[in-house]
């Protein structure tokens, strides 16, 4: 595969927190329409990597090339969002005092999100249809007019996934989507992500190895801020270095 097929290319990214290198010369590439899973022990820098890509934090050095070579480093979060990077946070991060519908309506991709277009804007029938479609995808049609804060934990996770989907990102960053979900919800989430990956590139951080096996084609293992291994679930689990890092952890037991 050549670089022109990459939607994301992180080159030598360093994130230095006063001497602690959360990311240490991290090189991470993702292709268009790929579903990539990132695993790694606690403190490996997985969430930091997503933070750097979506503009939540600025890396100490390195490049984050997105799409046709746009460097995301130094851009602010709202511009990166507009370029087509969507982020689903680890703890469900929704607007709890708005209804489910309003959460989705605010997230919907629109030509302008400035103050005055937002003040004057009315949802077009096409936009309303897209919101209804999104509600169906995440299974919250029944709850469209409920206050988002009143949803269950799993439903909140789904709502946030829906919000990110409606932003129509070409790259979707998902941080531990199934944490706190029941087995059934976990499986549904896996199916949803697999379906979405037909249209957009997705990077998922996950600890739950059953879930990883369900969705992953290629897995990237991150440890101490660098990529130490990349490949199919089987290759990665057979890798000696990975076994060493995870010694005594769940992955060896499987």
């Amino acid at each position: 595969m050549t670089d022109s097929e990459l939607i994301l290319n992180c080159e030598n990214v360093v994130m230095d927190y006063d001497g602690f290198k959360a990311l240490n010369n991290c090189n991470f590439k993702v292709h268009y329409n790929e579903l990539r899973v990132v695993i790694g022990p606690n403190g490996a820098g997985k969430t930091t990597l997503l933070d750097v890509i979506c503009g939540k934090t600025k890396p100490t050095s390195g490049k984050v090339l997105f799409g046709k070579g746009t460097n995301l480093v130094g851009k602010n979060a709202e511009d990166i969002t507009k370029l087509g990077v969507g982020r689903k946070f680890q703890a469900p991060s929704i607007y709890s005092n708005l209804s489910v519908w309003q959460n989705l309506d605010l997230s919907l991709k629109r030509a302008s999100k400035g103050v005055f277009p937002t003040l004057m804007g009315q949802s077009s029938p096409a936009e309303r249809a897209r919101i209804e479609e999104g509600l169906e995808t995440i299974g919250l049609t029944e709850h469209a007019h409920d206050r988002a804060g009143s949803l269950s934990h799993g439903q909140k996770q789904w709502l946030e996934i829906g919000m990110v989907i409606l932003q129509e990102p070409s790259l979707l960053l998902v941080d531990e989507p199934v944490a706190g979900m029941s087995d059934k919800e976990t499986e549904q989430t896996g199916q949803l992500l697999t379906k979405l990956s037909e249209k957009q590139a997705i990077v998922v951080i996950e600890h739950d190895m059953d879930f990883v096996r369900q969705i992953a084609k290629i897995v990237t293992v991150l440890a101490e801020g660098t990529v130490i291994c990349e490949g199919t679930v089987e290759t990665v689990q057979a890798d000696d270095h990975v076994r060493e890092i995870y010694l005594g952890r769940a992955i060896v037991a499987h």
Partner: protein, 375 residues
């Protein structure tokens, strides 16, 4: 299940709006004019005028509710913008006194006794009514634009923003107190005689001002309702809920905060402009730290994040003050402070929340008592 279109209010709200509007615009003035003075139904000129003052305060409270109740940004400097509006109108009214003044000079009295020989340049625009009118809105709006731009762009938020606005109120109070500011020092501007040729001492002029205030309040309410019903209104609530998340939805929070801060300042200016001719005096004591804090209490008592609550709170607290200060003048600050503590700890949704709880069990749509504080 279609989402209700923006701006379409529910029927209960529309009905109550008509009822309240009718009451303020027709019933009260009629009770003032028609019944004989000793009749039980008679509303005295004093009471009507006092009510007009409360309604001007309600406009001020609406603005704070937008920025604090909806957007979660506590401004403790609304009194400053109110003061700008009040002083602009006050300067026009002062120049209208003309040679009716105590010293019989064209210059305002305070300039005569502070040895000012010529009208300072910045007073000139206020020779015309239009100057006073435009100044009362534009000065607060422009000042808020500049101040808000600097503060919000530097991502000053929460309690830091509250402290900075309080410092602003204190600074404004100091500046307006100085004789060198040429705005009458501690005595402020007073002794007004006429407005566009109408005598301010005439009850019919005061009735007219009352009616204009009611109409301004209705217009301000409709403007605020239009804003909070729009998608931008939802962004405001989203900022209050989770400001950092808003950037990942593609919005720039500081621009929305700036917008709503400027609208609030404009409303405060309008309120000040309407206050001055009805009360007949504006001094630095009415625009400093304490008056700015009182606005916060009105909104908290009425119910944050409900526009009706801001109006209700402003009228109720001020009416309470006018009654209670008759009986316990010294105790009022303690009553006010106690009220604030009780409301914030026991009734976070204020009067409106209590009324809602009485009528139905539906939670307030805009602000939930989920332990969130604004600052």
């Amino acid at each position: 299940m279609p989402e209700p279109e923006r701006g379409r209010p529910d029927s209960r709200e529309t009905v109550s709006l008509y009822v309240v509007g009718l009451f303020l615009l027709v019933v009260l003035p009629v009770l003032n004019v028609l019944p004989a003075e000793d009749s039980w139904f008679h509303l005295s000129d004093f009471r009507l005028n006092q009510f007009g003052k409360f309604l001007a305060f309600a406009i001020l409270a609406l603005g704070l509710d937008l920025i604090w109740g909806y957007c979660g940004v506590l401004s403790m400097g609304q009194g400053v913008f109110f003061g700008f509006g009040a002083y602009c109108m006050g300067m026009y009214l002062t120049l209208q006194i003309g040679t009716e003044s105590v010293y019989g000079s064209e210059l305002p009295d305070f300039m005569v006794w502070t040895q000012v020989k010529e009208l300072p340049l910045f007073w000139y625009p206020f020779k015309s009514f239009l100057g006073g009118l435009l100044g009362a809105i534009l000065v607060p709006v422009l000042f808020a634009t500049l101040f808000g731009f600097l503060a919000f762009r530097s991502r000053i938020k929460g309690v830091y923003f509250a402290i900075i606005t309080q410092a602003l109120a204190f600074a404004a109070w100091l500046v307006f107190n100085r004789n060198e500011t040429r705005l009458g020092g501690t005595n402020g501007l007073t002794d007004f005689k006429q407005l566009l040729g109408y005598r301010l001492s005439d009850p019919s002029t005061q009735r007219g001002l009352y009616l204009i205030t009611v109409m301004a309040l209705i217009a301000a309410y409709l403007l605020c309702r239009w804003i909070v019903a729009s998608r931008a209104g939802k962004v405001l609530i989203a900022i209050r809920d989770s400001e950092s998340r808003v950037t990942f939805s593609g919005y720039t929070p500081w621009m929305f905060k700036l917008f709503v801060f400027v609208v609030a300042a404009g409303l405060a200016g309008l309120a000040g402009m309407l206050y001055v001719p009805q009360v007949g005096i504006i001094t630095p004591a009415q625009i400093g730290v304490l008056p700015s804090l009182e606005v916060v209490i009105w909104v908290a008592v009425g119910g944050r994040g409900t526009l009706i609550g801001a109006i209700l709170g402003a009228v109720a607290v001020n009416y309470g003050r006018s009654v209670l200060t008759n009986y316990f003048p010294e105790a009022w600050p303690f009553i006010l402070g106690g009220l604030f503590v009780v409301v914030v700890t026991l009734f976070p949704d204020g009067l409106v929340g209590m009324l809602r709880n009485l009528t139905d069990r539906k939670p307030s749509p805009a602000f939930k008592a989920d332990g969130r504080t604004a600052a």
